[in-house]
Symmetry: C5
Subunit: 339 residues, 5 copies
């Protein structure tokens, strides 16, 4: 489920964002506490070995190694790589959100352009609407792990009422080595053309409006599919991950407190707890987590899109709009500003 | 209310932006003075403790700690993180502004395409226009805290004349577990289709123009809803906030003036007032405030969008345009350049 | 007036951009010389005080202060803040340019779709075109200081022939607490609808083309208005300005040449003229000037849009196109490649 | 073939991206192992020469050279140049993906708007569809090396069934010094206009829908062609490549372990294997590889678009949709939510 | 002519980009060798003066100056300024490319919507097409130096067959103080409207399709004009150029090899040839050259758009498509996948 916090930041107030630091759901703490523990344990282990187990000469060697690591840790361009990479991921994530297929535009047109309050008219509108929902469901199944869990087979799709048994048969009957998610969308076109021939759709202009809108809907679907199919190149993700992990690896050794009595520059204080290194871990690992969370927004993270909810909402609302609400109108009355 | 200063910067003049530094409303000073005071008080407190309370050995320890903090303060990539984050926030904010729903395009079409100067025609146009305004009001209620305060219940919506009692009843009557802000928009379609059947709208082309425009209007509404619903991932905001707060925390200790007589490098001057640290506080905290102010532009900040004003303007203007101004035309006369 | 130099950089040649460094109009020198003089005077004053007035101990103190300032000057992230900010300003500026309302699309449609070479037909086309120009003029008046100076009252608008006296009366007569720049645009719709009824516009398709185009025109207008109304948040501009000014303030003291005989690191040369600091002033102040110049492109800077010229060109050209050129066609002859 | 890994990152989990580090196909290791070996061999060679072959004085000279190289290696702005360049390449790559021509929108319209289940009707629809596929095939041949290998001559195009012998003749017959990939697209228009005249397409609205869609299809095609024709300026690519290669060249010498006993600052440890330099090689060379892989996504890299697969899929699916599926409709039945 | 190298980088191979380093046309070497020689000569001259002419005290002074310059050279933010600026220039350049006016969409519509194979019909289609080409030619003349050289006067335009003598007369006859490139575009509208009246264009829908497409074409033209008219503000270009030139100036002195025997830090090696400084020159000057080359892509650089070729191609192809190919159709035959 998406974590919405916009109402908490409606106004810029005294230390406005500090409240956000205290949330748990969808928070950096929830996402990172395991990695944080692992990091802390390793750091402590190395620290203990250095302090308790090593002999004098070994300690000197370790100290040199630590300084060496520290110097290179600073050369790793984590900030930049993460900045550019996260910007890319965030843009893709948002584009996926704005391209989620919503049937509202189509249900509006179908309700007003496909006429007839009789059973055939109702059936026509409901079926058209069902095809719309079916198209997106087929796409969501291949894009979203959550939806796939809910509809693992076409049987589940039929059972859930998105497809009738007849449609299932015709669908399976079609011979094609390729994905067939586009099939209901052709049915939609055929059915609309038939409705036009029968006069249920009055005009070619109305028909083409429906067609254009359906094509837009399908483009949303296929764009989602495209985002899933062609992700950020694996190499890019690996480069970024390597950079961050190497940085932390270098920090494990390089950010140890060295014996102040030896007098290395910048090492005249032993705080035991490397507070700033731990905070840096939070920044960088948190920043990478932003990417991890958003790179596939159709999973089951706290911040992922609620695709299953969308599917239910769309079917319920769109059938309501084209059937029960078709031509239902409140009596027109003068508004209070009349004259 | 939005803070408009563009007329003050129309021309690039001698130290052109310095005038902007002297404004109070919507200014960095107004937004930050509380945080600034807190920061200054803490800094002073630590400074006093160091100067007056600590013994010699404690002072030496504190000095080491201060140098340690200062070194790490510089390693925190505040500039970058803020740069990327604020760019993201500003883009979202501007997209929200350009997607504010304005009924002007629709009122233009309704005024010219829905015919009839009799009472029924007037009622038709006014009702269509009212549905348009109602759709956006329902969205604004869930998006903007300011609008929600003004219309806490549907009763307030009815009272304000956006909805009639009949409509209210029909609206409540609809059974749906989901939000129903799309309902007036279906009514709009049904009413327009009816007007087409009655000949008030002359042609399917005119009807489909209205429909397309209404769909565009609804898309604006739902995009606003989307921006509210799916914000910048909480983790990202937390990462940035943590980075900035940690930086300031490190500065509180690390930017203290250390006793020049001890002779630490870079600490041979005691100015008492850390002028540059305070200015840095202004930059970074101010930059973060930009994000805080814009992340939800529907609050009540000085720089937030004046949604309530929009709602009033839209209703007043759109009713005026489709009713009083319908087919009202100044007498055509030759312009002064004729021949 | 816009400064066009593209023809000077058509080809990438030997030290291609150096010619641009020698221009005066719209140049960095013209924009900055006053600030530069102020900066140089202050720098010199401080330098003279240090060299001539201060006693030995005061000099030592000043030197420490100077080193302190220099160290912090380098910590101020001017480059980044300016990079991100100027990118934002340049994008907004360009978007405003591409959204300037040009009536060419409309005059093309009106000339070919509104028929009749008689006086009524001519009047119809000229009036429609005038409404288009009037809409943008009303917007330009509130957006551009240059246009406002030229048309300070509605009387000037009438005098200039954009509005007739009758229209003025009707316009003033409309009661609305809100801006009324949208009124001519409703008149346009009404007049076009009337022309359709009279058969001057032959088809609803033609009518809706006109309507769509007019709506596009109006969207350009309102987008310009939006850019003026909702600027870059004041806080952001203040943060950037503060950063740059603070940097220069720190430079005034921190970049003084200290007595080489005292032997501070990096201070073993006294050049009297701080050539690189002055160049840095040019970079950063110049970069900020880019923002200052572009943040409101409707002023009277050398590089601002020539709005008054646009207004004249649009009226002249569009009346010519819909009246004199209506149905005027050169005799069709075979071109030279025929067969 | 595209490397899809989105299902592996559906949820942000414990060290979520680490699994991606262990893939081979499309991975950084597969792409880089050869360069890595070359780099390692050179590094080792230089190291061995320094350690074993050089005399004392030569060693001292080499050490100075090494320190000199190291200092300049850090001045090379590899991170920035790569950041800006890769962002540009990734944007172009993604734009090419979203502009791949898919015939789905057209097949939907043809199936529903071009009527007649008789042989002539079938032929009409299949031929229209074939022209669509032919247009994109001609473009793909000049854009994609993989497609060109498969269809090296027009004979192969005819053999594969995208063109008939008659069409081939007419195509070859056309005299033009320019590319002729636009020819089938004109045939499409002519054939559609003929179908309209024959009444197979019922209305000009339907016809113009087809035309608009075909124009959109052609725009995709020509955009792909444009991306191929006008690449990122060679100079830019050369600048980036030079920067990266120079950096590695400088590292080969500058990152050698110098004899710790001589006591150069930062050289008091001899690890033999320059672990961080090798990791840096992975980051930067990997980042450049991202660009190399994406700069022309129509090659045969692991991550390139599967153009040949697209061509087959599009032909098969589109013929199926407009022929076998034309007006084929499952029997309408009440869905399970009826009343 | 554009330098196309995409086929050379189709696959990411072993040191994939190194081949690009060996090209001459459009390469960094060709663009930069003159500047490079100038830089090298100056560097050598200063080096020789320092080594051979200066006395001991002068040498010491020069060495201090050199160190001073070197320190400031590093403070100049060349990388950033160039990164942001080049990104801006590249975006503008690409937008200009995708907005080049191609008549393909229009020729497709004209060929299929303007009927009649008789001479009048042919003349009609050819004339419409000629007006389209004329519109863009007029724009190209004012935008591109290469085109202007080819068509320095309107006589050349007439001679080349883009305009007839009659049209020339009518064109010159029009009184307007403003540019008249929009005139053929009005003629197009008038001629299309006439064709509609004569029944050569069958339907208002077809007519409006043509009009919309023509408006799109004109928008491309005027956008090109806009890019030429309103360039990147001169100040920005000057700031960037100043930054780069200052950097190189500082390098000339600051990167000299100082006498190693004097023992300045970092100056214990005299390589005579400043290999890394020369490489840096290549990076930065090359990066700036990218901007120089792209800032006006209508010149005669190796990488500029081949506008004259476009003009010829467009006229030839579009006349062919609307005349010879009008209603020419290969005989429809069953494709090889039939049944």
């Amino acid at each position: 489920m998406t974590v919405t916090y916009s109402s908490k930041v409606a106004n810029a107030t005294f230390f406005g964002f500090h409240r956000l630091l205290l949330k748990w759901r969808g928070s950096i703490y929830k996402l990172l506490y395991r990695e944080f523990i692992v990091f802390a344990v390793f750091y402590t282990a190395i620290s203990l070995v250095y302090r308790l187990l090593l002999t004098g000469a070994q300690k000197r060697y370790f100290e040199k190694l630590s300084i060496y690591c520290d110097r290179y840790a600073e050369q790793i361009p984590v900030t930049f790589v993460l900045g550019f990479y996260v910007t890319l991921v965030v843009n893709r994530w948002w584009n996926q959100f704005v391209n989620l297929p919503w049937p509202d535009r189509l249900m509006f047109l179908i309700s007003s352009s496909v006429h007839g309050r009789d059973e055939h008219g109702r059936l026509l509108r409901r079926t058209l609407m069902r095809y719309v929902n079916l198209t997106s469901l087929l796409i969501f199944r291949s894009v979203s792990t959550a939806v796939y869990k809910r509809f693992p087979t076409m049987d589940h799709v039929v059972e859930a009422g998105f497809m009738t048994a007849d449609e299932r048969k015709l669908f399976d009957h079609l011979k094609s080595p390729h994905l067939k998610y586009w099939v209901p969308f052709i049915w939609f076109g055929n059915l609309a053309a038939k409705a036009r021939k029968e006069g249920r759709i009055r005009d070619s202009v109305d028909l083409q409006s429906l067609m254009t809108e359906m094509n837009r809907y399908r483009s949303w679907c296929s764009l989602l599919f495209g985002y899933d199919w062609v992700g950020i190149p694996l190499v890019y993700t690996q480069v970024v991950t390597l950079a961050v992990y190497t940085f932390f690896f270098a920090c494990l050794i390089g950010r140890q407190f060295l014996d102040p009595t030896v007098g290395y520059a910048g090492h005249d204080l032993d705080l035991y707890i490397p507070i700033f290194t731990l905070l840096q871990f939070f920044f960088y690992a948190g920043w990478l987590k932003v990417a991890e969370q958003l790179i596939n927004p159709f999973g089951e993270d706290d911040d992922d899109f609620e695709t299953n909810w969308c599917i239910d909402r769309n079917l319920q609302v769109s059938l309501l709009a084209v059937d029960e609400m078709h031509m239902s109108l409140p009596k027109m009355r003068k508004d209070i500003y009349w004259d």
